[in-house]
């Protein structure tokens, strides 16, 4: 008899599972197995074609790249609709931030503004890497938001700190996050949120267009131009100049990105060469040959809250003014 009831319980629950989910098909959860095991949108080395524009490619169209990845500007998406769709998916978004040496002073503003604007209403896990855990400020976290502090060794050169992030990220994703999070974003700490940063930014591989180069021609991009470096990009190639201060995507894709960048940087070290903009140069090389599936406009990493440009209607995340000489461990 008990068994009878137990069986009924199972049948009842099973048949009453509500799957009322208007789905958005482009979602990617790493645990799913696709028949298509292809890895992003690979493009061959040395392939030359017209430079795409970040502003407008045709007078009556905008907001997609020439490989049909959306570029997110204010007005291109419907925030309510997107939130609604993604809320069904029970997502966890991991966010890594590095605050070594004197950079811990930026944490308070970063975290407090994030609690106001960053993925509000969704589950967010912050992974904070620092060499001074005692300097991490107390910031009240919203429901569903967690802060995890990890101690890392100090370094003498800010360039090393910046580049070392790739390896730490690679390890973090592989060892821990694979089963815990759906998406990950890696953000710079010397910045602050001023406006909404939400699920419109989610995608398989997401890059942010650098705020100083979104209207520059490709030969003016500050890519690494020495052929000896692994990050070398010839003058006639390049789509956009991406910033190293913010990037993200699904765990699998970001793992591949961080792994590749770390490997390339190690090869450069062995050859005693350091790319012009460190891991940002390697990131740009990666994005050239592994096209991002979504691009975020410079609204998502702006120069300074007081700076202005015609195309930027909303500033969402922006560097804060800082005295480089003062905060960096070395020149």
């Amino acid at each position: 008899m008990k068994l009878y009831v137990f069986l009924h319980r199972l049948i009842y629950l099973n048949t009453n599972q509500n799957s009322c989910k208007p789905q958005i098909i482009e979602k990617v959860i790493t645990k799913k197995n696709w028949k298509l095991k292809n890895f992003g949108l690979r493009s061959p080395v040395g392939f030359v074609y017209n430079q795409p524009s970040a502003l407008v490619s045709r007078t009556d169209v905008a907001s997609v790249t020439s490989w049909l990845a959306p570029i997110i500007w204010e007005g291109t998406f419907d925030a309510t609709l997107i939130d609604f769709i993604y809320k069904q998916q029970n997502l966890t978004i991991a966010t890594t931030v590095f605050a070594l040496g004197k950079y811990t002073r930026f944490l308070k503003d970063f975290l407090e503004s994030a609690e106001q604007h960053y993925f509000v209403g969704f589950r967010v896990h912050y992974y904070l890497f620092t060499d001074h855990p005692e300097e991490v400020p107390e910031v009240k976290m919203g429901e569903n938001h967690r802060l995890i502090v990890r101690k890392v060794p100090s370094m003498n050169r800010w360039q090393d700190i910046s580049m070392g992030r790739m390896e730490i990220l690679e390890k973090l994703i592989k060892n821990e996050l694979a089963s815990e999070a759906d998406y990950i974003f890696c953000l710079d700490v010397d910045a602050k949120f001023y406006g909404r940063w939400g699920v419109e930014s989610l995608g398989r591989l997401v890059g942010v267009i650098h705020p100083w180069y979104f209207d520059a021609p490709r030969d003016k991009f500050t890519y690494e131009r020495r052929p000896e470096s692994q990050a070398y990009i010839p003058v006639e190639e390049g789509d956009y100049y991406f910033t190293g201060a913010a990037f993200g995507g699904s765990l699998e894709d970001v793992h591949h990105l961080t792994k590749t960048c770390r490997e390339q940087m190690n090869i450069d070290i062995a050859n005693s060469i350091e790319a012009l903009w460190h891991e940002e140069s390697h990131l740009n090389k990666y994005f050239l040959h592994n096209k991002p599936s979504k691009l975020l406009s410079p609204e998502y990493l702006w120069r300074d809250i007081n700076a202005w440009a015609a195309q930027i209607k909303v500033v969402r995340f922006s560097h804060v003014a800082k005295n480089n000489a003062e905060v960096r461990p070395n020149a």
């Binding site: 049948i11 009453n16 789905q23 061959p44 169209v61 997609v64 997107i82 769709i85």
Partner: protein, 424 residues
């Protein structure tokens, strides 16, 4: 979710109650609780729609309801009878009357059991009436997305950030180079029954010139007259498979049966043979490039006649009795039924759902305004395509050109309906 929790609570209460009762051996109320349980469950499945939907409330067929009520009454009476008669259970049969009552008791138990089985059966067989509609139960109202902006510029991205593919939004060389590295196979299904075989030659020849040139393409051609299939020279790495299917007297039947055939083809063959699949109408022709820019997880094409129409005027199915019903306040675009595409897995889901909804409608003798196109629109409303093709990818020859559509890639040829359709 809320109703799940309520049910869980109810369940736990019932079970606790039952466990308490079970302390007494051979408790007569033993069967009562699970019986109540089954009754509640089957009632729920058969009659009540989910509370959140205000517009779609399909009810069980009349016959089913009758059976259900009959079984319910039977269970009720036999349980009541059993409770009344249980006093006779443990007494010795020392009179005819007693013996009779005891037999009656057993009989009533058996009847109760049989009718419970009937209820369970009805509950289960009503699955198709209800479970799919639960998918469409969350209502959100938002402004209709536009295809052409107020300044005459075309919109390249939907509000849920799927690209809309127009000429000029993509670089064909770049896109081709990206996808060529992926070694993909694109299956393409086309249906040519009855006199529609006359369109095949143009369709296939123009496809060989324009459709996924340089990629591996496998055409699956469904026809009732394989001997009418013309000889068309196919490019390298392209092949054609002819599949014979039975004919029909009604063109509406032919078109809506496509979903079922697509579903079966994917199940039986495409899961192993292809990466992407497109299902295209045959009475059309290619005039321009149709390439890898159209690939994505789930692809819909905007119908050429409605890309500037307000959502209230879309020819959606507007009768609530149909599974394809969409209320006036909802709708993104009007998608054309002539083109469905995407990853094999996702197109399978779409075809399967549409076919199930079509079957439900058929069981109720209702046919949606535009047959499977109406059902497809319903599916796309709640399962948003990951990429939308502009009307360049589905035009109609008899329409004059417009400013926004700068190039026609695929267009329905002018045809004499009376001459080609088996019925008006």
């Amino acid at each position: 979710m809320v109703s799940c929790l309520v049910e869980l609570q109810e369940l736990t209460v019932l079970t606790k109650h039952f466990c308490r009762h079970n302390k007494t051996p051979l408790s007569p109320s033993c069967p009562l609780l699970p019986c109540m349980h089954i009754i509640i469950w089957s009632t729920d499945r058969l009659t009540v729609g989910p509370p959140m939907i205000t517009d779609t409330k399909p009810k069980a067929g009349i016959m089913k309801v009758n059976f259900f009520l009959f079984f319910l009454a039977l269970t009720g009476f036999s349980l009541i009878g059993h409770s009344v008669l249980r006093v006779t259970k443990d007494t010795k049969p020392n009179s005819e009357m007693m013996k009779f009552l005891q037999n009656a008791n057993t009989l009533l138990l058996v009847v109760a059991f049989v009718s419970l089985t009937g209820l369970i059966f009805l509950g289960y067989s009503s699955t198709s009436l209800r479970y799919k509609e639960k998918r469409f139960c969350l209502k959100l109202s938002y402004k209709q997305p536009s295809v052409v902006g107020p300044d005459g510029k075309v919109v390249p991205v939907t509000p849920w950030l799927s690209p809309i593919v127009w000429e000029g939004t993509f670089d064909p060389l770049l896109i081709d180079s990206i996808y060529r590295q992926q070694n993909i196979t694109i299956a393409t299904t086309v249906f040519a029954l009855g006199k529609y075989t006359q369109f095949l030659k143009d369709f296939l020849e123009s496809a060989e010139q324009n459709y996924f040139v340089g990629f591996r393409v496998h055409y699956y051609l469904f026809t009732d007259q394989p001997e009418q299939v013309p000889e068309v020279k196919l490019g390298e790495e392209r092949q054609l498979t002819v599949l014979k299917v039975p004919s029909s007297n009604r063109w509406q039947e032919i078109t809506l049966r496509r979903m079922e055939k697509l579903e079966k083809l994917i199940e039986s063959r495409l899961v192993n043979e292809a990466d992407y699949v497109f299902s295209l109408d045959v009475d059309t022709k290619f005039y321009g490039r149709w390439g890898a820019e159209s690939l994505g997880r789930l692809i819909g094409v905007i119908h050429p006649g409605y890309y500037q129409t307000a959502r209230e005027q879309f020819p959606y199915e507007r009768r609530p009795e149909s599974q394809a019903f969409i209320p006036y306040a909802e709708g993104d675009y009007y998608y054309g039924g002539a083109v469905i595409g995407g990853l094999v897995k996702d197109v399978y889901e779409a075809a399967k759902t549409c076919r199930e909804q079509l079957d439900i409608d058929a069981a109720k003798s209702i046919e949606a305004a535009w047959q499977e196109e109406s059902h497809l629109n319903k599916y796309f409303l709640y399962n948003k395509p990951s990429k939308v093709l502009s009307p360049e990818y589905l035009w109609q020859d008899f329409k004059p050109h417009t400013n926004e559509v700068k190039i026609i890639r695929f267009s329905q040829v002018i045809k004499n309906y009376a001459a080609v359709r088996p019925n008006p």
